[in-house]
Symmetry: C2
Subunit: 269 residues, 2 copies
């Protein structure tokens, strides 16, 4: 028997796509006519982790009269925790989640930079509370509301469910669903992660557009058949600038901001 | 090293629970003082599947001049699809989801009741479109908004992600997250299903209250350490009345409606 997804897909092809009717003319909008869902990388793409982590480190340091290059340490915190998550679950089920990775990354930095004065409570506040209370980029909340009128919009992330739930509440974001790699134990950039989300959305990969400010995530999504939108976040790594300064030109959309991305998707802002 | 969840729990115990401060006096509210999240069975507890399915069957029948006991057939549809899902994934990964189960249940009823006149499009409309467009019980949306001011509120369901996403949009519901058993492949009432949700919420089971109109779900949640709230939905099965008429008196809350449950949780309605 034909499964629900194939049947849904077949029947859907028989009806006109409302999205086509509202799309602006232009190459990008035309090639994205069949997109029904947007999946958002959330870590650096939506949330400003750099300001949050740097601020928490600097504040804690000041309390102890310690001066360090907090910009650099914040970026190392990100690099190390991300390094522990990418492709996690490839061979065996993960033994930890991103909250644990954040704590492990902090501990290694405490040791290297002589920050032993940081108390247990302070370490928890930096690696846990700060990450669950990050602010999002200011151009996102209003754009998300608009995008949801036309698309299913889900967080698709290596962050924990709780980080997404907590930051959504703090920033007033309404996600249609949270797809944390925590659920399946297969983390980006494993193809299983993208395939699972397409299955849960009951859409063909080509009907989903992955949104991120990182080529590695978008390239992996593209490899699974997703459409891709690169949104520039030049301040993601603070004054150091993002490692992914140059978008892969193969992405369906390259945007300077979330409103710009929305316009390229045919959504009036 | 202590994991994020244990650490979070320990530090949290040191700070006053805001929820305690707002709780109304009374036994139920006192015993539920530590609850931080509510997980909602969504199928019959939030969504009125009986009216939806019966209506779709009757309408399709009328189109073909067929008269049947649609109330009975609608309830059989529910019984059979539910029967295919409970404990699914116990021994091996599931080969189907609830959308497939809905279609299988309908096909068996079409055969038994001589409904071969129903076209492919009509069968899809009954088993898929109807289930993705169910109306929720009228006392829920406003209560959910109020509850979310005090608790994390998530759908925790054997239904597919897409049913929850689609019905949330149709009814204006805002979930903090959707925990569909589809993600882990371990369906209620397997303990793994409840344990996974507690892990994703980063809460002790006793800090979570499972909300449902079914003893079987609540009893299983209680077995995993969750608190439980039984909300009566006397019309869930139409005029036939629900099989679970009598709440297990062991539940922490037995409520006549969602506002009643909210009041018992200490939330002013």
């Amino acid at each position: 028997m034909e499964n629900a997804r194939a049947r849904s897909r077949r029947l859907r092809l028989a009806v006109a796509h409302e999205i086509v009717a509202t799309a602006i003319p232009g190459e990008a909008a035309m090639s994205l006519a069949g997109v029904r869902a947007l999946t958002f990388d959330t870590g650096g793409t939506i949330l400003d982790w750099h300001s949050g982590v740097k601020g928490a480190l600097a504040e804690t340091g000041a309390r102890h009269g310690i001066e360090k290059d907090w910009t650099h340490i914040a970026n190392e915190f990100r690099r190390r925790s991300l390094g522990k998550m990418i492709n996690l679950g490839e061979r065996e089920p993960p033994a930890y989640n991103i909250d644990d990775a954040h704590r492990m990354a902090l501990e290694s930095l405490v040791e290297e930079h002589g920050l032993d004065a940081f108390t247990e409570g302070e370490r928890h506040a930096i690696s846990y509370d700060t990450m669950h209370n990050l602010q999002c980029w200011p151009d996102f909340p209003d754009t998300l509301s608009k995008l949801r009128e036309n698309f299913l919009c889900a967080s698709f992330t290596i962050l924990s469910f709780r980080i997404i739930m907590d930051t959504a509440r703090r920033n007033g974001l309404g996600w249609d669903a949270v797809f944390s790699c925590e659920a399946t134990g297969k983390y980006k950039i494993l193809p299983e992660a993208y395939n699972a989300v397409a299955k849960f959305l009951q859409l063909e990969p080509g009907e989903i557009c992955m949104v991120a400010c990182h080529n590695f995530d978008l390239d992996a999504a593209k490899g699974c058949g997703f459409r891709t939108a690169f949104v520039k976040r030049p301040d993601e790594w603070g004054p150091e600038g993002p490692p992914d300064r140059d978008p892969n030109p193969a992405h369906d959309i390259v945007a300077d901001s979330f409103p710009d991305m929305a316009r390229q998707l045919g959504v009036a802002m």
